[in-house]
Amino acid sequence: MRQLAAALLAVVLLSLCALAVGRSPVELLRILTLGSVGSRFAIEGTLLKSIPLLLTGLSVALAFRAGVWNIGGEGQFITGAIAALIASHLGVVPAILASMLAGAVWASIATLMRLWRNAPEVLTTILLNFTAIHLLGWCVNGPLQERSAQYPQSDLAGASLPVAGELHAGIVIALAASVASWFLLYRTAAGLRLRATGLNARAAAWAGINVNAQLVRAMAISGAFAGLAGGIELLGTTHRLFERFAAGYGYSGIAVALLAQLHPLATVASAMFFGALATGAGELQRTAGISSSIAVFGQAVIILLLILFGSWRSRD
């Protein structure tokens, strides 16, 4: 009931927005829908965009479930991509493994600071994002810059993911990752301990669970997923590094995970929804001349309403 209200309210608000800029809401809705799921081309675009979102969403969902506030997806995404590029000369599989390792290591810096000096990971992961962005900037202007040294970007990666049509194999990896996350969280004793720690760390400790070990584990897995997202984006879509590589995927992952109420399987639907919104918004800009600011505003309205009205943390 509440969800229906949210959906209706979103439609009404956005229709009012459309009318305010002098456009027919039905026409815009038609363009948005056709542009996101209305053709093979559109569906492929939607899926392509949802791959990194799914992985960063899973990264956030896993960490938050364990009570670890990893806001560092952006930085782990970047370091994963850098590692994937370096390792891509050994082949695509080493590149993917390297991206996961790099993301896990980058995230674990925050864990170390938490365990050593009790520095809150919310803060340290954000700061590590900035560090990673500058690391990337240095890499593409320095050691990893293209051989012709003309633009601040790297050369093409030494390997890439297999493709079918427009889609690359990253989608299979991402879907497998979401099933694996679900299995880990809900079907293993390790997952039970992670969740217990996230819900009540004191009770977990009294029940004999090593809470610090859960923190270390959750952060490493979460970082590995965000790193994998970066590696897959590099090996499947961009094929090279440049300064604005991350484009906010790490942060969008938070919204994706919250919309999915931190459930790994629901994250699939949530990521696709975000991917479809982005693809549809592109079509709105191109064919209806709706400016990007308005398109982004519309997306924000929908997401806020869904999170606000969703059964997310119901209260009596």
Binding site: Q3, L306, W312
Partner: protein
């Protein structure tokens, strides 16, 4: 929550399909336009309301709309996936011309170009060329070479200073030309460079300028975009002459800015579009400089009379040489 998503998607689809049926019976604007109208698309890496790089591209496309009667479209693309999708979407709709406003659009232009040979894909800067893909390269160096000549002719200390934002190839290249111009007058002329590391920190640009002035530089040229105002502040305070860049900045500090090296980015878009419309496009790097009217040296009329006549004469002579091709201006890339 999953249910919500399902509800929304279903609702959207229902409305959309409904509308689709209507549109088959009544022709709407979505129907393909007659081929005589040129269709031009633009992808920008950021918002076209940025009063800078992206706004200039949008201005160019709007001029194409007005001057060539074209239908135009724009999308802000933040990720490579969006860039490729944008280009391919223009290709699929048989657009005549699609611009990607930055070097980072090259890979996608090449890929989309191979798939849609009827559309011409132009990137702003770059070096990727294919039968229907080419970059626009602005030759601002032609103007900064002339600024170097002015500085070397008019300087009393034999030193000039350059303030850059980030050390990008395009910026380093204009500095290289400035230095070459100055040393064509006086091989011993000294040019000092400082990069502040960003394009928005006015304070850092001002400090850099002050340190150059203290080191004896009596002409300053900048490539720091917004932060350039900091350069002008420092020059005004110390009464040191300087130059404007990219736009005609002479009015920003009319007492000290001698001339500006001006780049007409919107004009470049129109120039390329005209070539495409008249089927004169050739798959090669589209150099756009003084001869195309895209690059120019604009004197500050208030300060020009204070120049030595031989300075002005030489600048005019060298400009003729550049236009006719007898003077080769070095490029960084």
């Amino acid at each position: 929550m999953k249910r919500t998503a399902v509800i929304i998607v279903t609702a959207l689809l229902a409305v959309a399909c409904n509308q689709k049926q209507e549109s088959t019976s009544t022709p709407t604007s979505a129907a393909p336009a007659p081929k005589s109208v040129m269709h031009v698309g633009l992808l920008t890496p950021g918002s076209i309301n940025d009063a800078g790089w992206n706004a200039l591209a949008w201005e160019g496309v709007q001029r194409i709309q007005k001057e060539l009667g074209a239908e135009v479209s724009h999308q802000e693309t933040k990720t490579p996936a969006e860039i490729l999708e944008g280009f391919k979407s223009y290709g699929a709709k048989n657009y005549d011309l699609a611009f990607g406003h930055g070097f980072e659009f090259q890979d996608a232009a090449k890929q989309a170009g191979a798939q849609y040979p009827k559309t011409i894909f132009i990137t702003t800067s770059g070096n990727t060329v294919a039968p229907n893909v080419a970059p626009m390269v602005f030759e601002l160096e032609q103007a900064t070479y002339l600024l170097g000549i002015i500085a070397a002719r008019e300087s009393k200390t034999g030193k000039a200073g350059l303030v850059g934002g980030i050390n990008l190839p395009s910026i380093a290249s204009t500095f290289l030309a400035f230095k070459a111009g100055a040393q064509s007058v006086n091989p011993k002329f000294e040019v000092k460079e400082i990069y502040t590391g960003n394009f928005d920190d006015l304070g850092a640009a001002k400090l850099a300028t002050q340190s150059l002035i203290n080191a004896g530089c009596d002409f300053i040229f900048h490539q720091a975009n917004e932060a350039g105002r900091g350069v002008f502040q420092a020059c005004q305070e110390k009464h040191v002459r300087c130059f404007g860049s990219n736009k005609n900045q002479n009015d920003l500090a009319p007492d000290v800015i001698v001339a500006s090296a001006v780049l007409d980015v919107p004009g470049a878009f129109v120039t390329v579009a005209k070539k495409v419309q008249s089927h004169q496009f050739k798959p090669e790097i589209q150099y756009l400089g003084m001869n195309e009217g895209i690059v120019s040296l604009v004197w500050n009329d208030k300060l020009k009379p204070a120049m030595k006549p031989e300075t002005i004469a030489e600048v005019e002579k060298v400009e003729q040489g550049i236009r006719s091709g007898t003077v080769k201006v070095p490029r960084g890339f």
